[in-house]
Symmetry: C2
Subunit: 339 residues, 2 copies
């Protein structure tokens, strides 16, 4: 059996209250008593029972991190950043997967939030829109990752998707690419994000005086390499194929790169490829992948900042926090202007 506060109190011959005072570092304890109690604590190897403490205080010290799938590189890297930053804040992270399914998101929100399993939730919502979520009225702080949708009363941490995709397209144009295709990810999932990125692309093309080519926009069911590969095959089979591809994440882009290799289409000479997220694979792929996105540590820091603020009781109106993003130009789009 584990050592309890009582056991320690009994050993020292004081009340549990005094021991608790020492454990929690309250100052109303005489130095002599403090050291006697501390000795007993060390001696018996006491550790507070977190469930009991949580029950009493109404706090768990846990936060939920909900993503579609942990094996997707972007979410894995994000989870890493969140876990790492949470350690600094003495928070423990509980991870669960939603598969991007609305039902699963609702279920988990219910399970974690209403059952008092966690103090707050970070949700990368692919399925639930901000409006739906708001209607659910989660009884706990929830911070969304991604683009704020209209009508949401929840905090959101993300980056400016419109500006980022515009920057990406501007870069392609500047490198001499003209017929720009888009692999846009799933229609249902992360809809708001996709929409903003598409608009950014259009705006950038317009600024450059280039036409928008809706026939070169491909939707996929998921966000993985396999779907990127399939989409690229579709694009290669088009009557008038593109000379550049903007994939809405790096996994899609890496799948596309693979297909281009198999089709013996030279990247970046014949076609340029760019993605979003800056996952590690893209820094070592052949060719290395041009990408855009925020620093994941920034995202983690800001979203835990907002979340802990809410947990502490903040009742400010919901905020949309934008973190800065950066364009990483690499081999996959580096075409010197032809002489």
């Amino acid at each position: 059996m584990a050592v309890t506060l009582r056991d320690v109190a009994a050993q020292v011959g004081v009340s549990p209250r005094t021991v608790s005072n020492v454990v929690n570092g309250f100052h109303h304890v005489s130095p002599a008593m403090r050291s006697r109690v501390q000795a007993a604590l060390d001696d018996l190897g006491y550790r507070p029972n977190l469930m009991a403490r949580g029950l009493r205080q109404g706090r768990t010290g846990l936060i939920g991190f909900l993503v579609p799938e942990l094996s997707m590189a972007y979410f894995a890297e994000l989870a890493h950043a969140v876990v790492e930053h949470a350690q600094l804040l003495d928070l423990t992270v509980l991870v669960d997967e939603t598969k991007g399914q609305l039902a699963r998101e609702v279920e988990l929100l219910d399970l974690l939030a209403r059952a008092g399993r966690v103090d707050g939730i970070v949700l990368s919502n692919l399925g639930l829109g901000g409006r739906t979520l708001t209607r659910l009225r989660p009884p706990l702080p929830v911070v969304l990752l991604g683009e704020r949708t209209a009508g949401s009363a929840l905090d959101d941490v993300g980056f400016d998707n419109h500006a980022a995709s515009a920057a990406l397209v501007a870069h392609l144009v500047e490198q001499g690419y003209r017929r720009i295709a888009v692999i846009a990810g799933a229609r249902t999932a992360a809809f708001a994000t996709s929409t903003l990125r598409l608009r950014g692309c259009r705006a950038a093309l317009r600024s450059a005086g280039l036409p928008w080519l809706p026939e070169l926009v491909v939707r996929t069911d998921h966000w993985g390499r396999a779907e990127g590969a399939a989409a690229m095959r579709t694009l290669l089979g088009a009557p008038d194929p593109p000379d550049a591809v903007v994939a809405f994440n790096d996994s899609l882009a890496l799948g596309a790169l693979r297909v281009l290799h198999e089709a013996r289409v030279a990247v970046p000479a014949q076609i340029g490829v760019v993605g979003f997220d800056d996952i590690e694979d893209g820094r070592y792929s052949v060719p290395t992948l041009t990408t855009i996105g925020p620093d994941k540590a920034d995202i983690a820091r800001r979203c835990l900042e907002v979340l802990t603020g809410r947990i502490a009781g903040s009742v400010e109106p919901a905020r949309a926090v934008h973190v800065p993003f950066r364009l990483h130009t690499r081999e996959s789009s580096h075409r010197r202007p032809s002489p």
Copy 2:
């Protein structure tokens, strides 16, 4: 404020006990009463408080999953498998990172286990040896991922590293490679695993009548692409470079592939490259990566099986569970024998 069992009991006009019976599906409740209570439950939107339940039953319904770093593809994929399987068992997974540091592993074990945060732990131990862990006598079930070390009294789930690395080398030899180098990962970390894989390589070379070339064994500090790249540069700079490389995980191998590309060394024609773990990147890299390893779903299933058994009170002697592994032959080692 959340709805409690008491609230429901008061509304129906019965005792909390009866409500509890309904919630937990005990059969000693009359159908009439059951439906009345159920109606109130639904009406008020009752959800059991998991902390209170946990405190009472001495169970949390949580398991800890401890890995060096969640952003490493192998651990991300493993975490995915574990989380997915845990959902089936109504367990929630709490993730934390150890950075492969012994101190951090001990700290987390202490924090999670002794504080009653979780019911059991799955630990991918890079730092702690089985002996050290056994000495710590964790007060909770702990299942290790990886190769069982002598003197450990803890359960272990893994695959036969010796046989797997032997199979990998045999494959290279069969493809006509002769001077086989090894990128062996960190010396301190996962020492037992590295050692077994090295022995497997030696054994396979001996069987093939080929010499063991200790000068072509490179140790790295970590297990990432950057280290694989650095190691490959070292090997290329050797007086008599290898014609094949066995990297002890896929990330190292992918780093090596990148360097070979930059050095214009053709893979698999001039040099063969193989790895361990079968991460997704290797199925889309250029060239695709030959690799070996078990199915991650198998690992997850078996380790949760063992863990839940222990949590349920099993006192069998510690088991070493071996899951089957599979060789995935892909482009990076596919050299037709020269005519």
